[in-house]
């Protein structure tokens, strides 16, 4: 009964809160759609709806920031990282998860890899910039390799934790039929871990897509950009043309916004699973 009464104040509070989220996004959209001549110094001038709807800013922003190239790089890096992470991390999670209880070696490997979670990128970045350059990896593939290493601690922790709930009898049945461990893994364990694959894919994809620091440090000499990196590198070219800058920001946000709208449920589940485990 009490809960029914407190319903409206709670709703009002939540709607007010939403304004703080909606306002910066609204501002981004209206500025991106306007021309510099429509921007007066008053708030009304900046925040009013544009008089004529024009996509000219977007066309120009795409040209200035080499949008399609950056988008392509971001997609390539994210997709390859996610696929490699699912394969590599689940394999290691499996090897470690099945053995760490009885083997000193595997429990050491587990601790060794998982403690990598505490290593800040700041300490790795300078040696890695040198190392990747020496190995000819100062490009998108070098960035992918680094991501596979950086997200290994978290993902191995998740996978080996998930394996505890998968009965070993499942594998033994297959082994009795003469299947090798390798085949058993791909035929039985890998498919069973599907919910964890989804979690790992979501967490890794979000982190990789939005990361600035790794490509900034590693791809500096390659003349290639990811979507966020392009915003950083072309910032000076926008000058005081904020309409152009905001069109570019909006373009950089649209892919992840669409992804979020389509897969909202999976993303929320994935994030919660990842954090609480």
């Amino acid at each position: 009964m009490i809960k029914k009464k407190s319903n409206w104040p709670v709703m009002a509070f939540l709607i007010c809160g939403l304004m703080t989220i909606a306002f910066p996004l609204y501002m981004t959209i209206v500025i991106a759609l306007k021309q510099p001549t429509e921007m007066t110094n008053s708030i009304q001038g900046i925040l009013s709806l544009p008089k004529s709807w024009s996509l000219a800013n977007f066309r120009e922003a795409m040209r200035v920031t080499d949008f399609w190239h950056s988008l392509g790089n971001s997609l390539l890096i994210t997709v390859v990282t996610v696929v490699l992470s699912i394969v590599v991390h689940s394999l290691l999670g499996y090897a470690v998860g099945r053995n760490k209880a009885k083997s000193k070696f595997y429990s050491f490997v587990y601790l060794f890899v998982v403690s990598g979670m505490f290593v800040p990128f700041a300490i790795l970045m300078m040696p890695l910039a040198k190392q990747t350059a020496e190995l000819g990896l100062g490009n998108w593939f070098g960035v992918v390799l680094l991501y596979v290493v950086f997200y290994m601690p978290m993902n191995v922790l998740l996978y080996s934790g998930y394996l505890v709930n998968i009965p070993i009898a499942l594998e033994e049945a297959a082994r009795v039929d003469g299947a090798s461990t390798w085949t058993t893994y791909w035929k039985i364990i890998f498919p069973v871990m599907k919910p964890m694959h989804a979690t790992v894919a979501i967490l890794t994809a979000l982190a990789v897509w939005n990361d600035v620091m790794t490509p900034l440090v590693i791809m500096a000499g390659s003349n290639q950009n990811t979507l966020p990196l392009a915003q950083l590198n072309f910032q000076s070219q926008f000058g005081t043309n904020y309409n152009l800058a905001f069109a570019s920001y909006l373009l950089a946000l649209i892919p992840i916004l669409l992804f979020y709208i389509v897969c909202q449920k999976q993303i929320l589940n994935g994030v919660v699973n990842g954090a609480v485990k």
Partner: protein, 288 residues
């Protein structure tokens, strides 16, 4: 049969472990080695023993960056967790359109921190001063980003705007583990409002509080993108986070060796803070 299984596990583990060692352990060791040199990032270098570490503790700029980073991490953690807890309770109560609200409130978390920083940069530089002017508060009509005493507040706001989403979701999943009959029993004993929260709800979600504390502090100590987008460390180096200082002076400022020493100390600080936090929160759990 047993051998085949053992061999497969080894064949899986060794190459992956090698990859990890190659791009995590080796650079870590190289970073430690560089910290004992006067390496500029190019050319030849000499061993300088512990001099970088001695200099670190007397370097004003480094000291300032630690103070700033910790101030930011502590204030943002408190702000974020207080708001997240309130929001989580609101979102967990019986309301209409619950899943819409949850989805909308999580949105900031999926957006890239750099672009969000740029958007807020404009908001702080133009919109808020213009708004203050309009309502007649001329004292606040200059941008908080241009004042070295207030610029850090802008960074707190942007960090909070994005991370509240994450912490709220974790608190909601915590609140969902609290069984309804706990409240019913508490209600009979007359627990309402703050008392109900303090003695019933909060103790039951302490593990989730622990997760949030560790996540928040660690993330905010490593803050970088927001600094890059909002202030670039300024004005007057008042908002240089440790990561930003290491990047800026180490990668392009010719202080490769010195900033490596800084990074080593930073690494130790992160480990100490995280381990202490985990000890505290797991200790609390046992008391329950």
């Amino acid at each position: 049969m047993k051998n085949e299984r053992k061999r497969t596990f080894l064949l899986i583990t060794i190459p992956i472990l090698a990859l990890f060692v190659c791009f995590n352990t080796i650079p870590l060791i190289r970073g430690v080695i560089y910290s004992f040199t006067n390496f500029k990032g190019f050319g030849s270098y000499d061993w300088v023993g512990l001099r970088n570490y001695m200099d670190l503790f007397t370097d004003v700029r480094v000291g300032k960056s630690y103070l700033f980073t910790f101030k930011l991490a502590i204030v943002t953690t408190i702000v974020v967790n207080v708001i997240s807890l309130i929001l989580a309770m609101a979102l967990n109560s019986k309301i209409r359109a619950k899943s819409f609200f949850r989805g909308a409130y999580f949105l900031p978390n999926v957006l890239g921190a750099l672009v969000v920083g740029y958007i807020f940069n404009y908001l702080f530089t133009y919109i808020i001063p213009a708004f203050m002017d309009m309502i007649g508060l001329e004292a606040f009509s200059s941008s908080i980003l241009s004042n070295q005493n207030t610029a850090w507040i802008a960074i707190v706001v942007v960090c909070a705007w994005q991370s509240i989403a994450m912490n709220t979701i974790i608190y909601i999943s915590g609140l969902q583990t609290v069984p309804e009959d706990v409240y019913e029993a508490g209600g009979l004993d007359g627990a309402t409002g703050w008392k109900k929260f303090r003695y019933l709800t909060f103790p039951l979600i302490i593990p989730f509080f622990g997760i949030n504390m560790v996540l928040s502090v660690k993330n905010f100590l490593m803050v970088f993108d927001q600094i890059m987008a909002l202030t670039k460390g300024g004005p007057a180096q008042s908002t240089e986070s440790i990561s930003y200082l290491i990047y800026n002076n180490g990668m392009s400022g010719g202080q490769f060796g010195f900033q490596s020493a800084n990074a080593v100390v930073f690494f130790i600080v992160i480990v100490l803070v995280s381990v202490t936090q985990m000890k505290i929160s797991s200790g609390k759990e046992e008391q329950l």
